[in-house]
């Protein structure tokens, strides 16, 4: 498709000239009203305005407020879920996982403790059970031998072998 580009430019120029000329012929009444409108606008711009947040901040806050109902509903749903969720039976406090993990690490890092466990010597545990029975007021199943074991046990797992021997 061939187009007369110079003709287009000329046509544009003619239209522009016509519009410019028509602007020169705007009537006095219209000019007077435009003048009044301009002065009213200037007075409006120079009028001290009460302090207000910048429009962008207000718009951003408004957009955030739109999410408030959804966020509130979500928070309420989470709260209800937490209240109604089946808990562990009362009287069995949940183990503190982080605390348990730290204790386990201590045990694993303790070389002596590992030796004690690996030696298979249950004397220490027997003593500990006897001590627990004594404290609860129940008769201990252990006699003088147990007392000797106790003394040996108090010195440590490795020493108990020597005392009993």
């Amino acid at each position: 498709m061939s187009r007369d580009l110079s003709g287009d430019a000329d046509f544009e120029r003619q239209l522009r000239d016509l519009l410019e000329e028509s602007m020169q012929r705007v009537g006095g009444r219209a000019r007077s009203r435009l003048n009044q409108a301009r002065h009213a606008a200037i007075a409006e711009a120079q009028r001290p305005r009460p302090w207000r947040l910048p429009q962008r901040l207000v718009a951003r806050a408004g957009r955030r407020l739109l999410w408030m109902p959804a966020a509130g509903a979500m928070a309420a749903a989470v709260l209800v879920a937490l209240v109604l969720w089946p808990h562990a039976p009362q009287g069995y406090p949940a183990a503190d996982a982080s605390h348990t993990t730290v204790e386990d690490l201590d045990l694993l890092a303790d070389r002596e403790g590992m030796d004690l466990m690996e030696s298979g010597d249950g004397q220490f545990y027997e003593w500990a059970m006897a001590q627990a029975d004594d404290k609860s007021g129940q008769p201990a199943g252990a006699g003088a031998t147990d007392q000797g074991k106790t003394r040996g046990g108090q010195n440590g797992g490795g020493d108990s072998d020597q005392n009993s021997g």
Partner: protein, 196 residues
């Protein structure tokens, strides 16, 4: 915090006055063109003046603090919104009026001799030619789709570049080029006999 001051001159006051002067110059430069653009869209002088006045007030109220180079596209965007509001209102009013058994006589229908008075007087023959060409152009502009008319007037009458026109119209620069090109084609087809 006290306002910044230098000697006896209040700098905030000075800044306000400077901004007011700049805004006044800007509005004085665009007001007649804006009026012609509004008049081409609304085909009614008083409505066009109202639209321009509202756009001026809105610009001064909400955007006078913005950099001056942003005023032009902002102003024409506000003006276009006002024009569209008035066209919608007029459509509703016409629908309501069409249901009435008679049309009340309006003073607006009478020609106002003051309104008809021109600011300067070209030779009668030239004036007649311009009148005829202008009537034909306004008629052709009235047949253009809104976006095409807007693009044509902002580019041709106001002299905005493509980027500024796109900002004023709230569309892409490619859309501006398309609307402008189609507007020119339509006008040329309709006004070809008036221009050689």
């Amino acid at each position: 915090m006290p306002a910044a001051s230098h000697g006896d001159v209040d700098l905030s006051e000075l800044s306000s006055n400077t901004r007011g002067r700049a805004l006044s110059q800007f509005l004085a430069a665009v007001e007649v063109r804006a009026f012609k653009i509004a008049q081409a869209a609304l085909r009614h002088e008083d409505d066009a003046l109202d639209a321009v006045q509202d756009a001026m007030l809105q610009l001064a109220r909400a955007y006078s603090d913005r950099p001056a180079e942003e005023w032009r596209p902002l102003f024409y965007r506000i003006l276009e919104n006002r024009i569209r509001d008035m066209q919608r209102r007029r459509t509703v009013r016409n629908r309501v009026m069409s249901w009435l058994p008679f049309r009340p006589h309006s003073e607006d229908d009478e020609p106002d001799p003051i309104a008809e008075a021109a600011s300067d007087d070209p030779p009668p023959v030239r004036r007649l030619e311009v009148d005829e060409a202008m009537v034909a152009l306004e008629k052709a502009l009235g047949t253009l789709p809104r976006r095409q008319r807007q693009a044509f007037l902002l580019r041709t009458l106001e002299g905005l570049d493509v980027a500024q026109t796109a900002k004023a119209m709230g569309c892409s620069e490619g859309s501006v080029k398309t609307h402008y090109f189609r507007a020119l084609q339509t006008l040329r087809a309709q006004l070809g006999e008036h221009y050689t």
